[in-house]
Symmetry: C2
Amino acid sequence: MKKVDLVGVGMTVFGKHPDKTGRDLLLEAVRETVSHVDMGIDIKKDVKALFIGYFTPELYEHQGHIGALAAEWLGLSGIPAFRTESACASSSAAFATGYWAVASGMYDLVMVGGVEKMTGLNTAGVTDALSIAADNIYELPTGITFPGLFALMAQEYFEKYHVTWDDLQAIPIKNHHNGALNPRAQFRSEILDIAEKTGNKIGVKFKDEMTFLKSPSNPAVTYPIRLFDCCPISDGAAVAVLASGDISKNFTDKPLHVEGIGLGTDTITLSGRKDLTSSKAIVNAARAAYQMAGVKPEEIDTAEVHDCFTINEAIITEDLGFFGRGEGLKAAKEGRTALSGDKPVNTDGGLKCKGHPVGATGIGMIHEIWLQLRGEAGERQVKGNPEIGLTCNVGGSNASAVVLIFKR
Amino acid sequence: MKKVDLVGVGMTVFGKHPDKTGRDLLLEAVRETVSHVDMGIDIKKDVKALFIGYFTPELYEHQGHIGALAAEWLGLSGIPAFRTESACASSSAAFATGYWAVASGMYDLVMVGGVEKMTGLNTAGVTDALSIAADNIYELPTGITFPGLFALMAQEYFEKYHVTWDDLQAIPIKNHHNGALNPRAQFRSEILDIAEKTGNKIGVKFKDEMTFLKSPSNPAVTYPIRLFDCCPISDGAAVAVLASGDISKNFTDKPLHVEGIGLGTDTITLSGRKDLTSSKAIVNAARAAYQMAGVKPEEIDTAEVHDCFTINEAIITEDLGFFGRGEGLKAAKEGRTALSGDKPVNTDGGLKCKGHPVGATGIGMIHEIWLQLRGEAGERQVKGNPEIGLTCNVGGSNASAVVLIFKR
């Protein structure tokens, strides 16, 4: 198996882009990616194949056939290209496809990306589009949608580990703190607006957060989830370039090596699971990635994990083995996952604050790991020259997971 | 790069399955696939990953997240699984993903498949669902749908090569002849019904075909395309098992070796192309597959090609290099692509007669190559012990293509 290196990654600002289509966003992310390849890249000459994750273009843009469309828009018509879909892990599936294509020796360099243009629909439309990541026959007829599915997980976690919604707020407060330092985060600017309008300081100076979070500005969605326990609806795109270890030095002296890749699934229905506070998808994906990389959870210097709802950051950090069962939320409360903690998690603000343009999220996480391991994360740079980073991107109610481990 | 072998393939009957969902169809195809693995397979033990092509589950079944869903329904929750989408080439994209995953050495055996459950929508709904394989911004606003796009190709082909609609009928007549010998073909039974009702013999005894094809039973759709120039709307699924060459002997003494794999794209918009009688996607995919296999077009013993509209069989057989420019239709008229010809094409009836459950079609083609190269095609067996078979599955208006070459 050939070694595979990450030689560049770029992303749009995540947020509302009312004047841009999915293809516009993708093009913008590619432009940034190209600008981030240290020694330059000629995409027409160098890119041998293109894999794009986009969860629901059919419903957001009445568009399918995203691979060929993206190739045309990037001026790459002719090359192999197709779309991958794994709900909210769609671009990590694109990454996996590109990884295998390069690792097999078939192509020496591929581009992988993801995009989602969500804000063209109203909230009901987006809720419906997202709902198809759950089971249309056995779950949706009950009327449940994603906040409800994650609320069930939160309820079980609270009961099992004797914690409360107040405890849970350690996660969004941390992630808004991190996201306020991230110029690509959706809630960097939006939170400033909120702060200005309401006088609350969340994301600005970090006092009075709980006052704000308990106020009517943070209404209940479904018990125990309130608005700020949910990631926002976002537009955005993110793109990465993967090269064979044989040629990556032609593009950068500072590649990230893809040391571990693991995928897994769990039942798509929550009713199929015995324990809602853990996911077999994540556990399996993590086990495979750690084994391949020869790395233990305690060796991970910084991680990006899929906090689509705040409870999920606690669950994932436990499933990844960073903390024991029931210890993930405790670790957040103790500041261990903060920028200054011993295991910084979601240094870019996470889905919660950075935004969650579904198909773009997986590669968006990799963008942060790229910055952190190269020491380019600016104000939010993790101290101590982090060497090993991990991403955990999941689909649906943690029914799909992709875990990636990068080393510089 | 590890060698990859096809060790089993199965499919449902293509056609109308009003009582079955997409997941039901997929399960049925897996059952048949398992029964076709000569030495047996324990899918829970042996299958390391699952890749499924399904073009538009969002619109047909209000369902996404097909990979995890399929894994759950097959009793395989836990393993890596995701969906691929490349319009009508979606399951060939799944095949490519599985191929690379095995060729890289990551997994020793994977299952790849495809499914589409189309007949739950009415004709207008299906036409709309299919239309998103074209460009929603630059093509669909003109009111064009797929019969229109292929009609433009036919018009250009007719003008360029001085042929007529009458000439074109050599293709559907041949494919209905072949399909009448295929128990899995949609129009085997439906044509018998038509024959019974109308007294016409198409698909039964093969006389008076032109009388039938020129009758009001074959109405105009869009010039020069009439109803029997279009493949039907179908439900169906098809599944294949790919194993590393290191272990394929544990499953069969008669694997098919995957010798060549090529992918390509062309502009998704027809307006982006200079010549509508050829596709860069197909030409590029074929070139890559031939080069990898070390095989020339004249060495292909039998091929399955994507005759979604009859004109496309002529175009593809030329783009594959089987015949010179403008010679593809002539070859069909001369019987060269018939079962008894020197280059049998679409021996299973093609999309035209076998049916076209979009996401299942690519693996459905492989099913026929499997039968033909193993000498198991019964009444429609190609003579002379064919050794090398090819599939060419395309997406949209030939904007994506996957070409595969198999040897026994």
